[in-house]
Subunit: 406 residues, 2 copies
């Protein structure tokens, strides 16, 4: 390969109906065109402060600490878990899909003593089951997924949060697939730490994890505070967090008036996240949530009218990502490839054991709009007919339209 | 603060003559406007492969492994150090500024046994000193900064590299301030692992760390391989890397034909890095390096003609960032603030003990161009006169012009 001949690529515009990354809002892309300024410039500092304040609003929290980390969503999960868990600490991770396994994986790497439980894919936990496991394992931290994008399930959190609060247990929630697209009442539900990603309901590109945590977690972080020796030779702490890059004691000092010199903030991505948050609040968090629910309902009703069936416990479906059984005789890979080739539309395959059985269809962020839903329904209908599936024709649009008319 | 009223900010175009982040090349900004596509889309996979190939070229290496990590430069440093260092391993970190301290800090957090040495700011190490320290400490890994942006010094690496190679010692180099802007012959100099950042000589925004490593380091990573349990329940390894997010055994599997599902790649930032690499190779790596040297020379000669003096060992100045003593009686903070307010030009303060004595002036990436050098020289002259400094007037442009005329 002679790399001096590499061309500027042309990227086709895709309609992205997957769990993410999603289509970026056009105004977010525009915001990313702003010129670079230094990270300690007054203007940049005020953007940082506004970003914190807007992050609080979408997490529905009064926590002081609410800021993005330069890294993808799992960087945020790891930052919060490795700040709160020390070697030997007891943690409980209830698993109901791929991302529960990920939390357990990250927690184990902190050398915590991690208890896990598993339930069948397509289900969520009853509070009674969670309570039983918590009472038996007596953890310092419970960490759980809110929206499990591998199964399209949403775990109710309120009773769990109240119980953890009563027991003095720290509750950390992976809300990557939910915040901005469905209700997430961090304070009201008693959640101590939470994470979301830039590339889901916020409609920004991937590359930033937004986190928030309360005073309970802050006090642990403060007790483990350790600054770079190049900045403060006297900073010594036996309990320091093992990662320097994801050390929340340094990150919160960077996001405080101290403006501790830690990393070089990702300027353009911060512009993106600032604008994505601003657009969400301009639309109104409530309205953004309603839009996600409406579009997913229309999509579901359309697919149902075609004769497709949703996977998993119907009372706890995510309003942002849903799994649908693949009609008999359809080759999942070939179908999705033709959808990309002919329509430039992406949907996602099932995960792990569900790989050949379901499609995961998302409608998140800027991808969650009527136009996308209707185009996708028509395209799925056409290709299912093309591949000879036995479906009801001509019903999908009418069913979706009925949802929109309500 | 009522956040529903936050406005889309207007960001003034700054002329950035600091160690970074630097002005982003206009074509890089354009590339970031490309629509999002899924990270397993064929087109995206080919962009990833091209990015690897171009990364090899700018690192001047035939290493297979050469790819970006979603995170700032220190994420890359931490990823390489925590992959190669296991608890109790011996490491040697020669320090000659702030970023040497950072390497030592990160290395210590891996629980390695870290030996450090320090020399006065403004100096670099002689090979003899390095050899003596290595022979005495017998490390598994030597980790050192190439371009120390806190002092503007560049450490010669060739003799060190050859010696480490002979001794079977792993040499890891922080080349954040140098790759693309000065020669960095990874293979020829015997360097096993190296890191650079997107926001320096490559003229992309901050948020990506580019790394490369050879088979010696790969074999350690392979021996520590551990995939998420949600992907492979049988993946168990006592020697696993403590970070999941920065685990190079998973990252290299993601950047291999396996395409291991690890993180959601930062789409727009990958577009940026791909285009930044492409532009560097289109200009020609040699020409890019010559441009950096030329502009820094012109800037230096201009400042010298004004009567300013460069800080530190003159035979080992960085061609990308240089420190200059602040003329007597000038308040560093007020001067830099007026430079931003009146001219929208940024230069950087000195670091740590040099804070009030020097300015750090960078000319990296797209910021390294004649226009910027000349504007900066005129502006510095005007403001030094405004603040009453005793300097030679009317000489700076002529001196810089002489360099360009050669």
């Amino acid at each position: 390969m002679n790399m001096t001949n590499v061309k500027q690529p042309f990227i086709e515009r895709h309609i992205i109906m997957t769990p993410g990354p999603v289509e970026v809002h056009p105004n977010v892309l525009k915001a990313m065109q702003s010129p670079i300024i230094g990270q300690f410039d007054e203007k940049f500092l005020s953007l940082m402060d506004e970003t914190m304040e807007m992050t609080r609003e979408i997490f529905q929290t009064k926590n002081h600490w609410a800021y993005p980390i330069v890294g993808t969503a799992r960087a945020g999960i790891e930052a919060l878990l490795s700040a709160t868990l020390e070697p030997g600490d007891k943690a409980y991770v209830p698993i109901f899909g791929r991302f529960g396994h990920l939390i357990a994986e990250i927690a184990k790497r902190t050398k915590a003593n991690v208890h896990t439980s598993e339930i069948p894919l397509g289900e969520v936990y009853s509070f009674e089951t969670l309570k039983k496991e918590i009472d038996a394992s007596n953890p310092k931290v419970v960490a759980i997924v809110h929206g499990e994008s591998s199964t399209g399930m949403m775990q109710p959190l309120k009773a769990l949060g109240k119980y953890c609060q009563k027991q003095g247990i720290i509750l950390i929630v992976d809300a990557v697939a939910t915040i901005g697209g469905t209700d997430f009442k961090m304070d009201e539900w008693g959640i101590d730490g939470a994470i979301t990603g830039s590339q889901k309901c916020l409609a920004a590109p991937a590359g930033m994890a937004l986190i928030s945590y309360n005073k309970k977690i802050e006090s642990i972080i403060n007790a483990r505070e350790k600054y770079d020796q190049g900045l403060d030779p006297n900073s010594i702490n036996d309990r320091m967090i093992s990662s320097n890059y994801l050390d929340l004691s340094q990150l919160q000092a960077y996001w405080s008036p101290k403006r501790l010199n830690h990393h070089t903030e990702a300027t353009s991505m911060l512009y993106a996240v600032h604008e994505a948050l601003r657009l969400t609040l301009e639309e109104g968090l409530d309205k953004s949530i309603k839009r996600h629910t409406l579009n997913m309902n229309a999509l579901s009703e359309g697919l149902k009218a075609m004769g497709l069936h949703a996977f998993g416990d119907k009372t706890n479906h995510l309003p942002t990502i849903k799994c649908f059984y693949i009609p008999k005789g359809i080759d999942s890979v070939a179908f999705r490839q033709k959808l990309v080739n002919d329509y430039h539309i992406e949907i996602a395959p099932g995960f792990g054991p569900l790989k050949d059985n379901v499609w995961r269809i998302g409608a998140l962020g800027y991808s969650s709009r009527k136009q996308n839903v209707l185009i996708l329904l028509n395209a799925i209908e056409s290709l299912l007919l093309y591949y000879g599936a036995s479906i009801n024709t001509g019903k999908a649009f009418l069913a979706a339209n009925k949802v929109y008319k309500k």
